[in-house]
Subunit: 96 residues, 2 copies
């Protein structure tokens, strides 16, 4: 495994490593949502939400589609949500 591969993986993980972004990934796992819906969900200002989404999009884990004046985002890699149970397990065990 070369360094470049690890850099790419790190970018994807970094794109998820934020409470608001995780919340959105979770929501998008159920199906596509518009920015306005996601904004209500996370409760941050619209520009903030938009930037979080742009970040995940540039990492390649979500994609967008325009419908009228709404932008719909969808999760490109649903298997990412499979880590959550594993992470929660880690949080339960903690120290050792």
């Amino acid at each position: 495994m070369n360094t470049r591969a690890y850099e790419l993986r790190a970018e994807v993980l970094k794109a998820m490593a934020h409470p608001a972004r995780l919340m959105m990934v979770d929501a998008l796992a159920e199906g596509e949502k518009c920015v306005c819906e996601l904004q209500k969900l996370v409760g941050s200002a619209m520009p903030t939400v938009s930037r979080h989404l742009a970040q995940m999009k540039s990492a390649g884990i979500i994609a967008s589609r325009r419908d009228g004046n709404k932008m719909y985002y969808r999760l490109l890699v649903p298997c990412l949500t499979n880590v959550f149970p594993c992470i929660d397990e880690a949080l339960g065990a903690e120290q050792a």
Copy 2:
């Protein structure tokens, strides 16, 4: 799901979201390793490696054991490595 749960998950992901740390997680998935081995692997200065390890330890994904003057680290949550194939898939697909 409450906000706190997402914050905790984000911390775990953040602890992994770095090329050097991912490299170490991959290495530790094969079995425990001392800091000196990990340092050779990632090629950064020893204090830097030590701090990366401390970060992952405080996130709860690795643990340490002292043997003489060496510290051995091990992966507490091996299932974390299951995401990598999924991430690589995401990197292959990209935009949409």
